[in-house]
Symmetry: C2
Subunit: 332 residues, 2 copies
DNA sequence: ATGAAAGCGCTAACAC
DNA sequence: GTGTTAGCGCTTTCAT
């Protein structure tokens, strides 16, 4: 494990010169550079970045906090983040399954200088702690967000996206549309519900409270559970709008396991546009989010924040993808 | 941003004492401890771990290298790794989508002391580089492996697992069984093929070369593509064994899109036991790997290696999970 | 263009 | 039990 000292010695120059060669920012005479480079090769030298990090007081690590690694929704976002991070010579660390204790673990990494910033995709964090943290450390939000001045976000317009999805069902003639949502304290959930309500109201349809189901989570099982509840109702809906694809896939499964057909008996719409949504049978109609782009934007924003460049929040475009679960199979 | 110096000063003790309190390993008088602790609170002090890392020459970061974050197979493994890592005060960094350049990026982190060890789940790495690296740095393999003395692994017995899956199909009366595999240079692929061949041979069935399909990858689309190829054949199989669940799900989808029924026209078996395999319609029969356990074992092994404790490779148990895609729907 | 030297924040050996 | 001190390996003034 050669150090910069040894390289300097072998090359017959000072450590400063070696450092200059490594970081090739300042001018070094070709002769010195040459000597240093052969010494580096000779010794198989690799700079110890722990030293550099301490000296520069940066870790070049970005934390990406997601609620659960189980939800494929985050995958393409992460790919986008990674792309930008790599180009800017940052690494990213995925922090999943956050819980209060884990949360503080990650926040601590920021305070302990082990990370330079956070991309937050989990809304279930301690608001106060987050707010105070965001005053001293770079944080951006992606997809889900909390309205805090000091934390910019990138997201779609959930209200309109949801409105589009429900309008699609309405335009197909459905009037009995159930909504499978998650807890209202998530802002996206609130907005998606608002979009649902606005669409119904514009079509002059009364809301049936029985059809507003709250799922615990976005797991497949939660989707199945919700459908079981719906199918026990006296009056059953002819369409179900689930607030995420993972839920919708569980919905699909449970409908079919109950001997009903999609979309003939019940049409289904999901949300997110995960790759899996194409692979179900029938393929899932869904509101697709520009996940890769969201990741790119979030990472760019965060790195700018780290560099003390002012950044502002932005809204990106969603897209309704119509597939078999609402309009049935085409003849192939 | 308070430093240990300032804490020491405020507490009226030396930095050594503060360090002792922080790492509470050595004995400190209750009085000093008290003083230090109040000073820490007073200053809102957080130790700068960059300093500690440099001093201790460790990063307490484990690298987890997977081929693609898109394959849910790795998710539960990662959860297992995380559990162990957290308990041992390590962090993990997920390294996905590896390519030659990315690969060297990750290997560099090891050399540059930014990571303490690697859990490798991607077999597509440069063998030579890996071999030489493994002599100086702690590396363990999980699931997929390359037989290198210096790199222990945890995995299932792929040959037997595959044999079990195919035997299940044979016992249902299938004799025309296609195999959708990946490239033979992956050891798991080779072993799974061997299991397939052994099962057929024990049943006295000739191998039909047309039914040995090689998929590019484990994506859904690769599964669909493979089925399209199979369905163009003069003589079609009555069952398909796909070497991963992601492939199998594509297989399922394409069979159904072609107007055929699973398992009536073609039965399907997958491999891995990802959570999604339960949610397809019909639910997928698959060979389930003990992913969480594998993650736990791998992380434990790696940390032991880092601590210079000798570790040996181990084989864990798989499990054939029979579901609708081979035996059809039960009456509910 | 280059070297000497200070110091990033911490831990641990050593002396008391 | 506690303080002094020497680094861990690097970058970066400041001279020259």
């Amino acid at each position: 494990m050669a150090t910069i000292q040894e390289v300097a010695k072998l090359a017959g120059v000072s450590v400063a010169t070696v450092s200059r060669v490594i970081n090739n920012n300042t001018t070094v005479s070709p002769k010195s550079r040459e000597k240093v480079e052969t010494a580096i090769k000779e010794l198989n030298y690799e700079p110890n970045l722990l030293g550099r990090n301490l000296r520069c007081s940066e870790s070049r690590l970005l934390l990406v906090i997601i609620p659960s690694i189980d939800n494929p929704f985050y995958i393409k976002i992460i790919n986008g983040i990674e792309e930008v991070a790599r180009n800017m010579k940052y690494s990213i660390m995925l922090c999943a399954n956050s819980s209060p204790e884990r949360e503080s673990l990650y926040f601590d990494m920021l305070k302990q200088r082990l990370a330079d910033g956070i991309i937050l995709m989990d809304p279930r964090v301690n608001m106060e702690r987050l707010t105070s943290l965001s005053e001293s450390y770079p944080i951006v939000q992606c997809s889900e967000y909390i309205a805090i001045e000091s934390i910019p976000y990138v997201r779609i317009d959930n209200e309109i996206a949801s409105y589009n999805a429900v309008t699609h069902l309405l335009s197909l003639g459905h009037t009995d549309i159930a909504l499978i949502n998650t807890d209202d304290r998530f802002i996206y959930a609130k907005h998606r519900k608002q979009g649902y309500l606005r669409a119904l109201s514009e079509y002059g349809i009364e809301v049936n409270e029985d059809w507003l189901i709250t799922a615990d989570n976005h797991n497949f099982e939660d989707g199945k559970k919700a459908v079981k509840k719906v199918l026990q109702l006296e009056k059953k809906p002819t369409a179900i709008f689930a607030i995420s694809d993972t839920l919708a896939i569980g919905v699909l499964k449970q409908i079919q396991d109950s001997g009903l057909r999609v979309p003939d008996d019940i049409a289904v719409v999901g949300f997110d546009g995960i790759s899996f949504s194409e692979m179900t049978n029938p393929a899932l109609t869904t509101v697709s989010q520009p996940m890769y782009q969201m990741g790119v934007e979030a990472a760019t924003m965060l790195i700018e924040k780290i560099q003390s460049i002012p950044v502002t929040s932005r809204i990106v475009k969603h897209d309704l993808v119509v597939r078999e679960s609402t309009i049935g199979k085409k003849i192939k």
